[in-house]
Structure formats: C-alpha cells, structure tokens
C-alpha cells in the first residue's frame, strides 16, 4: 500500500516537473502553421514578399529586419500605427508566430520589384548619403546604413516599393506614432519626413527602390 502511494507521488511530481519545463521555454509556433501563415502574408505582399502593387502599394517584407517587423505588428495592434487591414491581421498572431514570421521574411532575398522613375535615382542617392543639411534633413544612411539594410527597429529600405516609400514619407505624421500614450521610435522620422520636399521624397524613394 505504501509503495503504491510512493509511485503515485513520483508520478504526480514527474507530471508537474514536465509541465513546468514546458512552460519555461516558450512554445515555438509549429512549422506547418508558420508556413501557412507565411503564404497568407504573401497573398498581399507578393509571392516572394518582394512587395506588390495592390490597390495600395503593399510593402516589401523580404530581407526586412526582424525587430522592425515585430515592432510594426505590435504597432498595428497598439494603434501606434493606423491600418485597419493590418490591425486585423496582427490581431490573430501570437508573439511566437510573429517572431517566426519575422525570421522567415528576413531570410528572403528576391530582386527589387522595380518600376520607379530612374532619372530621379541620382539625386536620391545624394540625399540618402549626404542628407539635405540646409533643410535640416539628416543623411538617411546614418541610421539605415550605407546599403539601406537597416538594423534592429530601423527598417531596411533597399528594394522597398517606390510608391510605398513616397506614401509613408508624405503621411508620416498621420500614420505613425498615433498612440500618444505609447510614444515610439517613429518620432525620430517626423522632422525628417516633414522637412523633405515632394520632389526630394520622390528622389529618395526612387533610389532605394532599386537597391538590392
């Protein structure tokens, strides 16, 4: 009788320990469901996540920084960045799924989708590398890197869609940093976007859109 009790106690202990161990390491999103979700992303963002010209310009996600992707998905949820479509998309994603998607997208490397006015690229390169000191526009390269690959929460711009970059820079203050209770890194870009003229925005957008 006593030995049966002991076995029972050991069994309970084992189950409890196993449970604790499982809770310790975050359950990774299962591979098959990540793949399914990734193909859902690609419905809009393009079959290689190179971006897509839908009704809206839908941004390239391929090669994007993982911290940036995760931060943006959270930004949609927290209404820091306003976008009804992406709010609903992000709403259904667990943190683990977000991390897995970000990593998968970061590893993609398709060619830029192209289509921007080429004659603007030279001026855009100058602005990207040197800024516009007279207009208090910082050199994009200082934060986004000389090859526009980004780092951490600072996004990759290389190969990003021309109309998307134009739209973002034009609408910065009404699309990003919209939750006053949760200020975020997007504030850094506000004065830059504000100080760029329309033609300068188009030049930079054309330049980055062709970068691989």
């Amino acid at each position: 009788m006593s030995s049966l009790k002991l076995i029972l106690q050991i069994a309970i202990l084992t189950v409890a320990l196993a449970g604790a161990a499982a809770a310790d390491e975050r359950p990774a999103a299962p591979k098959a469901s990540v793949q399914a979700k990734l193909s859902y992303c690609k419905d809009c963002h393009g079959p290689s996540a190179q971006g897509y010209f839908g009704f809206f310009p839908i941004p390239r996600l391929a090669g994007q920084q993982t911290a940036y992707l995760e931060n943006q998905l959270r930004a949609f949820l927290e209404h820091r960045r306003t976008n009804n479509v992406m709010f609903n998309v992000a709403h259904a994603l667990s943190p683990e799924m977000m991390a897995a998607l970000a990593l998968s997208l970061h590893q993609l490397n398709p060619l830029p989708i192209g289509g921007a006015p080429r004659q603007l690229a030279a001026e855009g390169k100058r602005i990207f590398e040197d800024g516009v000191p007279d207009a208090n526009v910082a050199a994009c390269a200082a934060c986004h890197g000389p090859e526009a690959t980004g780092t951490g929460e600072i996004p990759r711009l290389a190969g990003q869609l021309y109309p998307y970059v134009v739209k973002e820079l034009t609408n910065w203050g009404i699309e990003r940093g919209q939750n006053a209770a949760k200020p975020d890194t997007s504030a850094v870009m506000s004065p830059v976007a504000h100080s760029l003229s329309k033609s300068q925005i188009e030049a930079v957008a054309a330049f980055v859109s062709y970068l691989k």
């Binding site: 000191p133 208090n136 910082a138 200082a142 934060c143 850094v188 870009m189």
Partner: protein
C-alpha cells in the same frame, strides 16, 4: 578729382568692412538654432543622449562646448573623416555652431545604457589609474575624475559603449586634429579587452 576717387575707395572699403562685420555678428535666431538642434537630435537621440543607428551615434548631451566646436571644424576641414558630418558641418555658420554647442552642453539626459556590466570594475581601475606597465595614462588626468571633460577634452561620461570602443579602435584612421595626437599612443597601447572595459565603465557614468 584724385581726392574724390580716393574718398570713393575709402567709402567702398568702409561699406564692405561694415557689411563684413554685420555678416559675422549676425546671430542665428533662436528659432533657427532650435530647428537645427532638432535636426541634430534626429540622429543623436531626442535628448542628444546618443542613438544606436546603423552606426553608433555619439551622445552630445553635456558635451564640452569647445570640443563640439573643434570637432565640427575638424569635419569641415576633413581632419576628422565622416562623410555625413562633413555635410552637416559644412552649412553651419560659426555663430550657429556656438549656439548649438551651448545648447547641447546644457542637456543632461540619462546614459543610454546597454553595455556589459562585468568589465565595469576593470574599466574604472584603468580610467582612474591607467596601466603604467603598458604606458597607458590615467584617463582621469585629462578627462577629469568624473569624466566630464574640460574645454577641448571631451566629456566621456554616459558616452555610448559601442561608440567609445569604435573610436579607441580606429583612432588614427579617423582623427587628425592637432589635439587628437595626444590620444594616438594611448589608443594604440590599449588592448581590445581594455578598450571594452573603459568603454563599459564610462557608458554608465551620469
């Protein structure tokens, strides 16, 4: 006729001199300095506490006025190599530079943090005592006990770990202002590990 000509020359000269003086004294309006400061903060952080962009972008808050002025001059004269800062410095009038340096000096943001904590004790020892066996001076002898700097000697307190490491590693490739020569042998004599220790220590100083 001759004297009229002479008087005319004098008049023109006087007008030029007055114009020159006015141009030199033209203080940028407080609004212009504020706008330029916001531009600095885009990269150097909202409180100029430094920012980890693609490059580590140094803290300017609390920095010595003379050091900031000297570095901006160094960028423009290409004695210190940075393409981005050359372009930034290029358009600044001396009065604007002084206005910016003064305002940056008055800021006092908390250190950005993020450096490894383990080497801090070793860094403090190197900072205060140097490494006599390796001909490394005590940093404190020029930068001050609390690393606030003085005149052209920069403040190091709260400076970014990654930035200090990078500067000490690349000293002679990046710096060439007259005064920077002082640091060349020190930077050379420090090992990678010692550089990281000093950088970690400084990055947490308020």
């Amino acid at each position: 006729m001759k004297s009229i000509g002479l008087r005319l020359v004098f008049a023109i000269l006087a007008a030029c001199a007055a114009g020159g003086a006015r141009a030199n004294e033209a203080d940028p309006s407080s609004k212009d300095v504020q706008a330029k400061l916001q531009y600095c903060n885009v990269c150097h952080g909202v409180s100029a506490q430094g920012f980890l962009g693609y490059y580590p972008i140094p803290r300017l808050a609390g920095q010595q006025v003379a050091y900031i002025e000297n570095q901006l001059k160094g960028f423009v004269e290409q004695k210190r190599t940075s393409n981005i800062m050359f372009n930034v410095g290029h358009v600044l009038s001396p009065a604007m530079i002084t206005g910016l340096a003064t305002r940056l000096h008055d800021l006092n943001a908390k250190p950005l943090g993020g450096a490894p904590k383990e080497p801090v004790a070793q860094g403090k020892k190197i900072y205060e005592e140097g490494i006599p066996g390796a001909n490394v001076l005590a940093c404190a002898s020029c930068h001050g006990q609390d690393a606030k700097g003085n005149g052209q000697f920069p403040r190091l307190a709260g400076q970014l770990y990654a930035y200090v490491s990078l500067q000490l590693t690349n000293w002679s490739k990046e710096r060439g202002e007259t005064l920077s020569n002082v640091m060349a042998p020190i930077a050379r004599n420090l090992s990678d590990e010692q550089i990281k220790a000093v950088a970690a220590y400084l990055s947490y100083l308020e």
